[in-house]
Symmetry: D3
Subunit: 292 residues, 6 copies
């Protein structure tokens, strides 16, 4: 091939160009949105984020860290059999399990929120009853079923909760759900409505216990003014700065053994600002993880 200047960085996420073997963090995409009930399109998030991530810098003035000083591998996207939900979750689970087995941290880019269940299953296989989940979201995601379907973006935290057992999940920013979901949350999880209050205390508590934590960020926890590019915009959310601060604290302070960032839907992001936010949150998350 001609010896010349070629842009070779575009296929991977900003600064995630280490080799697999040397990396302690592995990014991968799960472009799945088949159970989305309102407006699909999150399957395009991983690809769009990779392309637009290069509009950001690798250096974070917030953390004074640089992705060029880290070792992160971008695996690309999983090839998922749209229309066969259980099989999709198995592929995600197996893939995450491979990464965890080598003591690397998988960071998944959704896709709809259901993909989290695959990642959580992989972690539960390894960590069992120790596993905890921190969940940022606008929605409870605690339905028992949705139009008769048990595996759905609207049921995903319910399924996780059933797997892990009671009081293992902390939900933050929640401002939408059926009444019974809020009641279920109070009984089986710990729910913080509307904002991130209580997060600092939780971090102290979990830090002390040093338990393995799965961290799932549904980006619609942000206010739609900040993040319009999502399938189900829910007014009344938190600000960008609050989310960024929280992500840095959670990933920098806790034993995060896997994480995901889900529900960017590029179709509804005409300006690209939502994609930029998703990318910057992921950059800060990766930098915080790699600084541990």
């Amino acid at each position: 091939m001609p010896d010349n200047t070629i842009i070779s960085n575009l296929p991977v996420f900003l600064g995630c160009d280490a080799e697999y073997e040397e990396s302690s963090i592995c990014v991968f995409g799960a472009p799945f949105d088949s159970t989305t009930s309102f407006r699909p399109g999150t399957r395009f998030a991983p690809q769009t984020m990779r392309a637009d991530s290069w509009g950001l810098e690798t250096y974070s003035p917030y953390q004074d860290r640089d992705l060029t000083d880290t070792k992160i591998f971008d695996c690309g996207d999983l090839e998922l059999p749209l229309g066969d939900t259980e099989q999709v979750l198995s592929i995600i689970e197996d893939f995450a399990a491979e990464i965890i087995k080598e003591n690397k941290t998988p960071v998944m880019i959704g896709g709809e929120h259901l993909v989290t269940l695959g990642g959580v299953r992989a972690c539960y296989d390894k960590y069992g009853d120790d596993l905890r989940i921190i969940h940022f979201d606008a929605h409870t995601d605690l339905r028992d079923e949705m139009f008769g379907v048990e595996l759905s973006h609207a049921t995903v935290i319910r399924r996780c909760s059933e797997l892990l057992g009671d009081k293992k999940i902390w939900q933050f920013g929640i401002r939408s759900g059926e009444k019974y979901e809020f009641e279920w949350a109070k009984k089986h999880n710990t729910i913080n409505k509307f904002d991130l209050n209580g997060l600092d205390d939780l971090i102290c508590e979990l830090k002390e216990a040093n338990l393995p934590v799965y961290f799932t960020v549904d980006l619609d926890v942000l206010d739609p003014s900040v993040f319009p590019g999502t399938g189900t915009p829910e007014p009344g959310g938190i600000s960008y700065k609050k989310l960024q601060d929280a992500v840095i604290k959670v990933c920098g302070g806790l034993n995060i053994i896997a994480a995901d960032v889900v529900e960017l839907c590029p179709h509804y992001d005409q300006s690209g600002a939502s994609t930029a936010i998703a990318c910057k949150i992921l950059r800060e998350l990766l930098l915080a993880l790699s600084g541990r």
Copy 2:
């Protein structure tokens, strides 16, 4: 017809599927935008809001109330003779008068702000000098005329003020108008520039007097970052949470005998976030009204 599962809820606004006779609140659309001077399209708001409202939940965690526990009827949209403004206002007035006559509360979805005049006329016929108006807006809407036309979205509050008499209208959030409009406002109405300061005191005052109040919400009172989907975006507005809180307080605490939510323009709402806001404000407004 085949006995089967059909989505029958889409034509009405979320949870507004009671019978007319049993309902104490009646929602209806006034899809009119013919006097809009800058960018038309608010006529599409009622139809778009009905469709997208089903992306929200019927339950409000803010008020701990559920639309499934209310009796609200959605009348559909008025058929309005575009191009004959006076006739349009008559149709709105007559329709609102019918609802008021049966001691139900009409809640109108605009359309441009001029439709408010039809609703106010119907209320003035019944309540006369007792009638008061609370007006949320970015714009004064107090011009004497607009390009020689007296019935316009830019004159609507002036016309209401002339009908009701001096000092019957409180304006909040106002940040745009000609200089003479601000002076007129100070003399004939009560104007609160830029935000909702003073609203709590007003609520106390009006509550004591127990006067009938017409509540008109021009959604462009919100900052364009929150609500870009409107014909005349005016930077410097209030946040979503402030508006939601205010709507709940006004509708939950006062003798609101009619209300409207106007100026959503779906053309400029590529992401659907503005429509989601309009729907959620209406949901909270309806829940607060029905909780009285």
Copy 3:
């Protein structure tokens, strides 16, 4: 309810406001797109078509017929369990079967092309080996499986062909597929590449035999210049007039016992022109069917 002028026509497709009992044709929507591999969104087609259909006239100067002279019932949309493909197909099949049982003609609005399989199954139950299919499409839709999934928009005609047996399906306008699909088509179906040549002869032949025909129109048979609003635009298609003429001839001349119009994806139809085309094709199809 107030005795007044309300737009009551919007929830149904243009002119399809007869009672179920008196109707010989039943329109219904199948808003499903979960197996779409490239760009989802066809689930929004039925709802968007109903709303925009009122921009057309009920009268066709092409056929000199008027929908106001017909008896057509619009059933609304099926509520489909996204994420459970087999169940979705069962619901469609059962619903179509109910309509067919009463000797009415079901006309389905997709949704992705897979929904056709539900309709064809219902017809095969009634008509067995007599059943024929006329298929307009850009794509062969003859894959054996897609990413390991057998029920997919890319396999639907293969599944139909396996159900009906060899040489029961005529495919027109086909210009995209894997090589083996074109070979399969030649062996098991009758394939007309690129355009509608041969349709007139087929109509004569089938007319004489008076066999029951299922007519499925994938709108991407049209050139993307004419119909950009679809998930997988495939350049090199036919013109609008050719499709309209063919629809009138097929529906006016043959024993069509069920039909569908699929693959409009409103997300990619910024101008609304593709939706207008889908609506007009459906209007002409319904008028031709009702004129028999």
Copy 4:
């Protein structure tokens, strides 16, 4: 002002920068769309066309003529009182009359089609029973009234026909209307359905009679594949080349005493291709007129 290179051409239409006194053709905009029943926005057409016209060349290889060799004045846009339809038409009529009085040819850019009535009234005042109209459109525009309103985009040719008397109007390309409109057209006008057949004969006939002709081009006569940027797209229209040829023939061969180009709606023209077409048609029209 600093002596420097400033782009001073943008406010006028491409090449229309002569002085008023020396010009034989006057372009002006009528940004009115208040009676538009389906989707408004044509008011933005004159401004958008002026801006985008500079993407074309002043030279036409079709006519081998150049706008730089012509004397055309662009008057700018009329300031129209939105919401007072009759007053809008008076302003247009008066303005066109001023131009005609000085034996210049007014060429109006709409706006919705109703603006034509203002121009036709001005011409009828001068030319009386001699006046003829050539009308290109997808729609009959022959309703007696629309939602009870007599002055509407859907009634404009009916109003013109009533003013001029029977058999003075030739309609081409018509493919949409109520049944009674087609019947009215046959009786009172001359209607050519679907295409421009018969135009050549008409040109011969009118040329010989040397009668003054008003030429009105509703751009939706074009197929929506060619011209999606319009409020009411009607599939089945003519091609760009047919329209361009016809415009050159009509304007080059007949005694055109006024003309208009209407119904571009930039909102639905994401790519700008429809605006480019409107501009090029106007360029060819102006060049053909100026070549007489």
Copy 5:
């Protein structure tokens, strides 16, 4: 020309219709974006801002001042040779120098940020070592070169700093850059990361010294929720109100001898809200300048 009501205001920015001779402030556009590395389109900003500015009022209730009471001239846009960057900067420099020579204040509408260098050069020619710069931005713009190019939107403040010398530039709101850029800033300029803290003190200091100040506002200093319409959205910015307050304080309190507002990219402003913000900031800036 006919004596009639014509909208003659559209080609100039809202209220900037004074004669050149009588004006103390001159607005002009620099529609250049050729070095934009991520997403071009800022060249359209001046033209779009002029058109949309008329959706605002001339009166500011914040400053209680009215553009109708000022004397401001809008020069139009410079004609710039795209593709020849150095020549573009020369044209800007010469044009600004002409205005400055007559003791008028040039206010430039970008275009990309590189255009600032032209304006700063003109000011430096006149004011030499006294010249100071206040710089609002999300990005440091301090690269030494970008893809081997020294004149770039990403190097513009570096070039200005090299021209003026050390410690003459104050940067506010900065939240993105390479690590070395932040270090360079600390050494050669004064940098205020993330927000506008320190601005009040700076204003006091500069006011006392009465030094001539060039004020450059890169609108992406705003949070993308507020201002999505820009080429490189960078989450974590300031609010609209903070920017407006700061602009009024800087322009009202200091010896501003030139200013610019850059980096609006209308392509990414589907709703027009970002353009409205750019226009309102410019209105407040002009009113504050004219009130000195």
Copy 6:
């Protein structure tokens, strides 16, 4: 890295996944648009085409050939110094020269049309006076300079013509240009206005002479109804089928030693149909080349 199913095909163009050494054709992107005078954005074409190309099939039923049977290498995109036009052309020239040197055929994806000059220079270095160019375009591209700049998308064919000498270039489909450009074309090149007439004769002639031919396809040769996604839409172009047929004939029948496909501007391609066309033309071009 985990042994699992990963989508690894996205970064390259559909089916172009051979090794460099074994390939006879090399695709590369030249994402440059800095001289674009009207609407920039073509720099995004290569990246968008690669992503969307996977919505097509590798098999062409037109040529009965499959990309899976070819050896084509996709080099990725050149990293180009925006703002330094001459340097950009050098990089393109050097890169193309490397490929040509190894007797491979470079196929470049633009970018704006100016990139062609880089490719042509590389070919002229090798083939000298034997080199011929076939040029499909809506525009003459024969200006002497554009706003004082000699290297511009509007001058590119003039520069090529000056390099090769008279009567070496055949231009097809041309329908826009200044008058003097058309005259220059007649004198120095061979110009075929409006369509592709004369192409068959030319192919015979060149085939016999067996001269090396550079083939440059400006996609705006297509009618904007077919291909709206371009910066300067020019109505009156050719159909998709005509272009596809011509591409197959030129590339299958002649000694094409380099080719390019330029001027797709994804910003103006909301539906993705223009990108699909660009991809399909490139697929057919590659298949025809590889079939020689």
